[in-house]
């Protein structure tokens, strides 16, 4: 390895993307190809799946076995959980959240989408835009994934014809005009099986002038996705060394959730409302960090001694978040055992805060295949998406999810079982 490529490795940025689709869409084949062609899988892994493929009587090496990690999944031949995969090219490092596509796994798709910058939605060129395509797009939009790739797969089975691709492009665009959070949709005709337009440009589709899928993943601009406007610093932990050298040191440790902080900034601490000034921003390597922004983990010292603990939020004075006990949110329900209870009480975890919350009202459910509101059936069960109103025991410090994913998201925890029963996005 030359010193130049090494430097490259340390300078790469990170793209997290999610894939949703069923086995039939060729999703596992696509991931297998991306991993294989970028040397993201190793010989012994390949040997192991060759061996299992033979045992199962599969004709070809079944690349799906790479992503189906659990014994029960291999037995059933389906992905039931989110699997994380890693690969890197000289330009970028990638984390794939690989999720199943069937409606009964909506919660897994939501989980995978929550940390993704980009979603790949697979469409079978023979079948066009189907119910599942709409559902995956709706979830990407709900979770505010700003970049979507519609990978029109199995182009080899429609003789690489432009018409099939153009029809899907038009049908999807008509539908996507209703999805307001997705700002960037890219259509790429591919054959995951044969490799066309996955890593290399296909020679079978002269009519397509765009990039290959991998080239797009390497170059799509994500630098402005995070919120760098509203300065938000949820305090996780207070660092007090109690040593002679750092006798009076009181550092507020956390991860910047939005905006940019600098030494000297006038700040307010929520929910108390006390004001102070940033004395310094620290990391172990640098006691004088000049600027801190998402997703940096740092600690902050203030000019004044104020009582601050976990769950408080340091914000810039001229730009406060909302500090309220009444919230309206979209949620995805995760519990198999229990439905969402109107008047029910849960714990809400949001940034570094945790408090009790009561469900004041279930407003409506969403039929995620048609995007229609459902108001006559308010029984919110596993995988359902609903709009609800919450009242919390102590104030929640937040921005709308649309404005900031970090300060606008929460989970609900069941008081009895401690299970995470819902994911929420504040409106």
């Amino acid at each position: 390895m030359s010193s130049e490529t090494e430097k490259g490795y340390l300078n790469m940025d990170l793209l997290r993307f999610t894939t949703a689709g069923s086995v039939d869409d060729g999703k596992s084949t696509l991931i297998g190809r991306l991993l294989y062609d970028s040397k993201g899988i190793f010989e012994d892994q390949l040997e192991a799946i060759e061996k299992s493929s033979k045992q199962r009587g599969d004709e070809n090496v079944n690349l799906a076995l790479l992503t189906d990690g659990l014994k029960s999944e291999r037995e059933q031949g389906i992905t039931i959980d989110v699997a994380y995969r890693y690969f890197a090219t000289p330009k970028r490092k990638f984390i794939i959240a690989d999720t199943p596509g069937h409606i009964q796994y909506t919660r897994n798709m939501v989980t995978g989408a929550s940390t993704a910058n980009l979603a790949i939605i697979l469409v079978d060129a023979r079948n066009g835009v189907v119910e599942q395509t709409c559902r995956h797009s709706f979830i990407a939009n709900l979770l505010r994934i700003q970049h979507v790739v519609v990978a029109v797969n199995k182009m080899d089975l429609v003789d690489f014809k432009e018409e099939a691709y153009e029809k899907i492009k038009k049908d999807f665009s008509d539908f996507a005009s209703r999805l307001d959070n997705i700002i960037d949709v890219t259509f790429i005709p591919i054959s995951a099986l044969k490799g066309d337009n996955v890593v290399k440009k296909s020679e079978q589709m002269d009519w397509y002038a765009g990039p290959s899928l991998l080239y797009h993943l390497e170059t799509v601009y994500i630098g402005s996705d995070a919120n760098h406007v509203d300065a938000r610093f949820p305090v996780q932990w207070v660092i007090r060394p109690h040593s002679d050298e750092y006798h009076d040191f009181r550092g507020y440790a956390g991860r910047v959730a939005g905006g940019v902080f600098k030494p000297g900034d006038e700040v307010t601490v929520q929910p108390s409302g006390f004001s102070s000034k940033i004395k310094a921003i620290h990391s172990m390597d640098d006691p004088d960090v000049k600027e801190a922004y998402y997703p940096m983990s740092v600690s902050i010292t203030l000019e004044d001694e104020i009582d601050i603990g976990r769950g408080d939020m340091i914000v810039k004075q001229n730009n406060p978040p909302k500090v309220e006990q009444d919230l309206e949110a979209m949620i995805c329900w995760f519990s198999r055992e229990k439905s969402l209870q109107e008047r029910g009480k849960y714990y809400i975890r949001q940034t570094s805060r945790s408090t009790k919350a009561m469900v004041k009202q279930i407003c409506y459910k969403v039929n995620i295949n048609t995007l229609h509101k459902v108001e006559d059936d308010l029984d919110v069960k596993l995988n359902d998406i609903a709009r609800i109103k919450l009242r919390t025991a102590s104030p929640v410090i937040y921005d709308s999810y649309r404005r900031n994913r970090n300060t606008g998201s929460f989970v609900l925890v069941d008081e009895q079982t401690n299970q995470t029963v819902a994911a929420g996005m504040i409106l």
Binding site: K71, R107, S243, T420
Partner: protein
């Protein structure tokens, strides 16, 4: 316009520090599992960063199989001195002596599985409610679906079908009395990330990771170091070769690789060219297709 981005390696670092701080905040008595391997060395480094200038607010737990490389113990003791962290040693030998664990017999006997008993006993004795580990999702297929905060029932067992969903940066460490969590802050790192980070941060490493001449025997395609616990059988030839270790675990099941890599640059070059996973040298994973999944369910690290 100014770009507010950080490199992928700094993003991974920030994420791991965030998880370490969440663990300290959400649990009453966390502990960091320290094996002496590169991943746990990076974990200690990240923990120092997370709480600087204070000391790491939890002790280190070393589950000692008794089958160690000397270099690992030396390194461990120096690290403890440097960080001022408290060290707790859970001894597999003691579990065997007390009749809590029964030693495997036969040629490829290993204390790997017995570690689970000692680990669970140590967690219970000290009432630890969160054990931080250096497992990575790229290591093994059962680990690809592991959570950052992984719930264990009162028997220390992992139920892969009943894991809590993890969204955004929100981690749910709520639990009932007697249950505990395993926490994996470096879940998203790859082997390459680990080595690049070690070089970038100039972290001192045990000599075992670099090339050295050592007496080894070849068994089932793996080069095993000749130690008090591994002796040649009939037909096995002792050879003296230039080797190093890609992972460091129990000396009875950690294989060496032929290598002349003498510094970090050489190692990174080797990792980049490698076509075998690092656990390819681990006999414990080769026992069956779901060897890791089965051990994890029982409470293995």
């Amino acid at each position: 316009m100014k770009q507010y981005t950080i490199t992928h390696i700094r993003q991974l670092e920030a994420e791991s520090i965030f998880i370490m701080r969440e663990t300290a905040a959400q649990f009453e008595k966390p502990v960091l599992m320290f094996s002496g391997g590169k991943d746990s060395i990076v974990m200690v480094h990240l923990a120092m960063k997370a709480f600087h200038p204070a000391k790491i607010p939890f002790p280190l737990l070393h589950v000692d199989t008794g089958h160690n490389f000397e270099e690992t113990i030396e390194y461990r003791d120096q690290l403890v001195q440097k960080t001022g962290a408290e060290l707790i040693v859970g001894s597999v030998q003691k579990s065997i002596d007390e009749g809590r664990a029964i030693e495997e017999t036969g040629l490829n006997a290993s204390r790997n599985a017995l570690q689970t008993i000692t680990l669970l006993d140590s967690l219970e004795t000290h009432k630890f409610d969160a054990a931080l580990g250096g497992a990575r999702r790229d290591e093994e297929k059962a680990r690809a679906k592991e959570r950052f905060f992984s719930h264990r029932n009162e028997f220390g067992e992992w139920d892969p079908k009943n894991q809590r969903p993890e969204l955004w940066n929100i981690f749910n460490g709520s639990k009932n009395h007697g249950e505990h969590f395993r926490v994996f802050p470096i879940s998203n790192w790859t082997e390459m990330d680990i080595w690049q980070y070690i070089r970038m941060e100039n972290i001192e490493m045990p000599s075992l990771y670099f090339t050295h001449r050592r007496k080894v025997i070849e068994r089932n395609g793996t080069l095993l170091a000749l130690t008090d616990f591994i002796q040649p059988q009939a037909g096995e030839k002792v050879q003296e070769l230039d080797v190093r270790f890609r992972t460091i675990g129990d000396a009875t099941c950690t294989g060496a690789v032929l290598s002349k890599a003498s510094d970090m640059d050489d190692i990174i070059g080797e990792v980049a060219a490698a076509r075998q996973t690092e656990r390819g040298t681990r006999a414990d994973d080769k026992r069956s297709e779901s060897a890791m999944e089965d051990r994890k369910k029982a409470g293995y690290f």
